[in-house]
Structure formats: structure tokens, C-alpha cells
């Protein structure tokens, strides 16, 4: 369902101000060097601020921030299980909403759920779909590092075609992952929620502006954040941002948003890089032949064309 949602009044983040904004995830957590997920979580919580409740699915981010008696969280945080961050978030939202209505809570905080790609696209898919469909006022953030990294780099439905993982290894009889990456942002957009976007830590102001919009809308919002994983991808920690930028600049991970059902690309790439530039710097893709890469390039081009058509088809008509 298309509807007009005006987000023009939502404050934007200036690049030079980011360092003055406080992350709700403190340093001293145990993430790997160059972890894209924890970097993204810092950006999200810088915008959300202290008046926030976080619901975390089981996964790397839960493990690295909460080994009792330590916690990296400066905001109230709850982790229940792997497949239920959406449902837990729904319960937290409903609970605070009822208590607020009864005058027992003074203000509705931001409610943000974090889940990895496995928690989001696989095991927690139903729970997330339910939370989105029922219209809970919360933001669900998928930190997509394209495999089950916490358990040792097993494939998920968000692992891209051609990637070698420990359960989709490349071999003489296999290219590795032989299925196409599940398109979670478009699946959530199909739920008719008010706000969906993709984002990348390589483009921090774009990411943070999307967080502000997601928190500003009434109802469910979904943010799909591309999160490089040096450990799982076989890349150097200091290269994470470069690789994230290559994913965007090759149109492999385009940055867009879906506001009230209207698709719009938020970062248009003028000089699109070949997918090979992105693939060749990662160990998970090093077995790919030129033919494989050409096949992947074709898929990237087709998917991007489809996205452009979606943008055109859902755009607000010009007033006559």
C-alpha cells in the first residue's frame, strides 16, 4: 500500500558531529578487529541515544557485549534467544505502551531490535514477520554479515551466490553457496511497513539519517545494514570500510529506502565499479573463475535494474 509519509523534518547527522555523539555500546566489548556489525551498532545507537531499549537476538553482538558480570550496554538491554528478537521487541513495546497508557511510564522510549542475518532471514524470520505485520512501533536492525559467523561461518539464506562457507564449501563439485541471497529488505517492504532501508557503515551519514527516519515513523521500521566480517570473509580488519564501500559502489549492495511503499535510491553511484573489484579482495570468493564472476556481474546488473524500476513504479506522480 502506497502512502505519503513526510520525513523532510527529520534532523540529519553531520559527518563532523558524529564524534560528539555518544554510542550506547561502550568500548571494551570483545568484537573482532574491523567488525562491521559493532561499528554499525555504534552508529545506530549514536542516533537513538540513551532513551532506548535494545532487544538483541543471540549472535556475535550478544556474545561480545554481555559476558556476565560485564556489559557494554549503557541502555536497557534484553537478550532472550536466537529466533525471537522480533517477538521480544513486540512484547517490550506492548508492555511499555500499556504501562505508559496507565500512567506508570512517563515516556515511550525507542525500541530497537538487533539480529544477525541468520536471526533475521532464517530462524527468526517468522517472529520478525509477525512483529512487522502487527504494526509494533519498533525498529528492527539486521546486521548482515552474510553467514552464521558466531558458530564458525556457516551459510545462511543471506549468504551470496558463490561464497564459500563451512557448510557451503567450494569444492570440485560445488561453487560454494549455489543459491541467491534472500532479499530481506524487499520482503519486509512487502509487509507494507512505513519505513525500510538498506545502509552501510561505509556511508555513516546516510546510515544515521536512516536511523533517525526509522525512529521518527509511527509503526515498524526495518534497517538492513551491510556488515563486513573480516573473520568470516577472509579480509583484513582495516579493510572493512573499503570493502563495504566497494559493495555499494559496485551496486552489489545499493543504498535505498522504502518510505510508505515508495522506493528511492539514496546513494546514486556515478561510476559503478565492476563486481570483480569487490570479490577479489575476499578469501570467501577467491575460488571463483572469470565465468563465475561474469555470471555474478549479470545478477548484480539485473537486480539493480529491477530496483530502479521499483523506484520508478512507486514514485509519487508529478502534480499536473
Amino acid at each position: 500500500m502506497l502512502r505519503d509519509i513526510d520525513l523532510s523534518g527529520v534532523a540529519k547527522t553531520k559527518l563532523k558531529e558524529i564524534h560528539t555523539m555518544e554510542s550506547m555500546v561502550s568500548s571494551g566489548h570483545r568484537a573482532c578487529q574491523g567488525c562491521g556489525e559493532v561499528l554499525a551498532m555504534g552508529m545506530v545507537t549514536r542516533v537513538a541515544g540513551p532513551d532506548t531499549v535494545v532487544c538483541n537476538a543471540t549472535g556475535c553482538m550478544e556474545i561480545i557485549t554481555s559476558p556476565f558480570p560485564e556489559t557494554a550496554w549503557k541502555v536497557p538491554w534484553i537478550h532472550v534467544a536466537f529466533e525471537n528478537a522480533g517477538a521480544v521487541g513486540a512484547g517490550v513495546e506492548a508492555g511499555i505502551k500499556a504501562l505508559h497508557r496507565k500512567g506508570k511510564v512517563s515516556k515511550m522510549p525507542n525500541i530497537i531490535c538487533f539480529g544477525g542475518d541468520g536471526a533475521t532471514a532464517d530462524i527468526g524470520f517468522g517472529s520478525l514477520s509477525g512483529a512487522m505485520e502487527r504494526g509494533h512501533n519498533l525498529l528492527y536492525v539486521c546486521l548482515d554479515n552474510e553467514a552464521y559467523m558466531n558458530t564458525g561461518i556457516q551459510r545462511s539464506s543471506s549468504t551470496p551466490y558463490g561464497a564459500s562457507t563451512t557448510t557451503s564449501p567450494c569444492g570440485s563439485a560445488s561453487i560454494g553457496q549455489h543459491t541467491q541471497k534472500k532479499n530481506m529488505p524487499q520482503i519486509i517492504a512487502a509487509h507494507g511497513v512505513p519505513y525500510v532501508a538498506t545502509a552501510s557503515p561505509s556511508h555513516p551519514t546516510d546510515l544515521m539519517d536512516k536511523v533517525a527516519k526509522a525512529l521518527a515513523v509511527e509503526g515498524p521500521a526495518y534497517l538492513h545494514i551491510y556488515s563486513p566480517c573480516p573473520t568470516g570473509w577472509g579480509t583484513k580488519g582495516e579493510k572493512s570500510i573499503e570493502i563495504a564501500r566497494l559493495a555499494v559502489e559496485s551496486n552489489s549492495f545499493p543504498l535505498y529506502e522504502v518510505v510508505g511503499g515508495r522506493y528511492a535510491i539514496t546513494k546514486k553511484i556515478k561510476k559503478v565499479k565492476p563486481i570483480q573489484d569487490y570479490l577479489k579482495v575476499q578469501r570467501r570468493f577467491r575460488h571463483l573463475t572469470d565465468r563465475d564472476i561474469a555470471f555474478i556481474q549479470e545478477g548484480v546488473d539485473n537486480s539493480f535494474e529491477q530496483l530502479e524500476r521499483l523506484c520508478a513504479a512507486t514514485a509519487k506522480p508529478e502534480e499536473e
Binding site: 549503557k74 541502555v75 536497557p76 517477538a87 521480544v88 513486540a90 512484547g91 497508557r101 517472529s127 509477525g130
Partner: protein
Amino acid sequence: MTKRIGTEVSLAVADAVKMAKPDVISAYPITPQTHIVEELSEFVANGELDAEYIPVESEHSAMSAAVGAAAAGARVYTATSSQGLALMHEILFIASSMRLPMVMTVANRSISGPISIWNDHSDIMAQRDIGWVQLFVEDGQEALELTWAAFKIGEDKRVLLPVAVNMDGFILSHMIEPVVIPEQSVVDGFLPEFEPQLKLDPADPVTFGPVGVPEVYLEAKKQCEVALNGSKAVVKEVLDDLNKTFGRNYDLIETNGNTGAETRIVTMGSLGESVMTAVDRMNGDGREVGQIRIRLWRPFPAEEFIEAAKGAKRLVVIDRAISPGTGCGPVAQELKSVFYGRPDAPEIVNVIAGIGGRDVPVSDFVKMVEMAEKGELAETYTLWGLNSDA
């Protein structure tokens, strides 16, 4: 004004929940529990109950949302049966480990396969070790009043645990019974507002559900065990309060018939009512037989049971679930463990009856007692009512 009405027990439970003023109800439809949550959603839709009703997409999410809402500081209710309870399994442990009070009615139903919507206790018996307080009710009045007691027990600062109220599916849940519903003010006097110990509050941030590294996991489990064992005294205290408020006589373990008889029938749940009739009939015929009814299943009130069974030579333990590969049903296992090594240990004869909705008429209990006394029942267990060609 106190009302005496004839109502389906499920609807009486929904009334009880409404009068407990929950903040959040999170539930998924499953037979035979559904009438409770249908009625509750109607109360919410009509503005009779100020609560958030979350019509979740699965029981796994029902329990997950219940945990989230309870952690937010809300009073939470849910209900389920059978496969729904099984689907919640993973999260049930987490609710108790997080020490989050909430109340769940379990309209007990058999577990697939084969799929069966009818009554037995195989759903809850697969959840014995979830760390919840677990109560069993026998009739509609108890179902109503123990719902309030369940909130009061779980929310007590000495307990802080979720509570399951078990009532037999169909046999009790769908029965039309006379029920006395007190005034709201009486319920309010019995059940004060919920004040959470900890909650998800940005003004005072806490971390719920952190990683239990090997240095702390055992201690965390130990604390839950201490809380559950300690809840027995609170259950007793709350039942005493309930008895005074509503004029009842509930206890952790109750007896009926000849309390000094050599043979006692042990029941849990609504079959207890049939056994009461059978025992009264046998006593009327001059036969010495007694009955012991278990109301609190977890934590198991061992001392109270031993006291109630004093002088018994033989316990005919009626189980409503099979415990495959163990040699007897779950209640019989429990009692064998309770009496192990005691010089006064009675013989424990186990009858597994009423499985998958199989009817157990009053006359069958008379027959069980006769067979037990003649030594005609198996030493391990007897599957009662089994077709001979099976």
C-alpha cells in the same frame, strides 16, 4: 456484588484474568485453550480490559513476547495447550531463569503423534524441569481463584517466577459449572498491583539475559533452584490468604475419604473429582480407602505428601502421561523418589489412565483399588483401558 453463575470454565478463567488486570496478553490459538483468549480479546475490544493483546504468529513468539513484556515491567498472561506448550519449550526456561513473573493457563492436552486434541497430561509432563511453579486445578472455582493466586505467588519478591496453572482440556476447560465470582474490590484486596523488581527502564539501565560464562552459569541455576524450592512456603501462604478471602480450604496436598486407610488413590487434576466420588462410594460400602490430591506439582511438596500418606500401605498412583523408557508414569516416578529409603515407604502401584481423552468412569477406580489390593496390577505400571489386541 458476588455473583453465582453457570459458565464454561474457560470463560471463568478469562473473567479471572480480566479481574487480575493484566497489562499484556500474548497468545496464539490452540484447542482446547482458545476460548480463554477469545474471551479476553473480546474484553479488550469492548474496552472492558485495559491491556495490550498481542495476537502473535506462534506460541514460541507468545512466550517470547510475554518475556519481553514482563521484562518491561508489565503484568503478563498467556494460555496454551499441547503442541503450543511444546513450541514454547525453549523460552519457558528463559522466563524462569530471568525471574520474570507471569501466569500461563495450560489447558492440558495430549501431544502428537498421532495428533490428538483430547485430554491428558503429556504436554506439561514434558515441561517438568522448566523451573516454573506448576499448579493443578480440579474444578472451575479453583481455576478462577488459583489464577489470582498464581499472579500473587509469582510476583512475590521472595519468588519472582512464572507460574503455570494446569487445567484438564475439555474435561474441565469446556465444562459448564457453577462458579462464584466475587466483587472486583475483593480481588483487588487479594492481589495488589504488580511492582517489578527490575525492568527495562532507560532511567536505570539493566542488562537482561547476558552470557552465562562457566564461572557464573551454575550459580545462576542454583539461584533459580533456591527460588523455586523456596516458593513452596509462599504458595502455602497465598493459599491460606485465598482461603480466608474467598472461604475455601485449599492446600498443597489434600486428602479425602479414610485418612488412615491402607490403600490411597493419588490424583492430580480433574480426575480427582471422579476419584472423590469413587472413594465416597467405597467408603459408603464400608470399604477403607482414601485419596490424596496433589495441587502443587512444582516445587513438589514432598514433606506434605509424606504426611498426607502416613499409615498407607499402598498408593494407587493415577498418571495421565506415559514416560517412555522409564518403567512408570511421571507422578509415580516422583513418589518413588520421595519415599526412597524410607522405612514407611508404601507400595507404589501405577495406573496410567485417561490417555489421549480415553474415558475413565467412576467404576473403573473401584476396580483399580480391588485389583491393586489383590496384587493384580503390574509392578511397573498398567496402561488402563488398553484394547487387548494392541
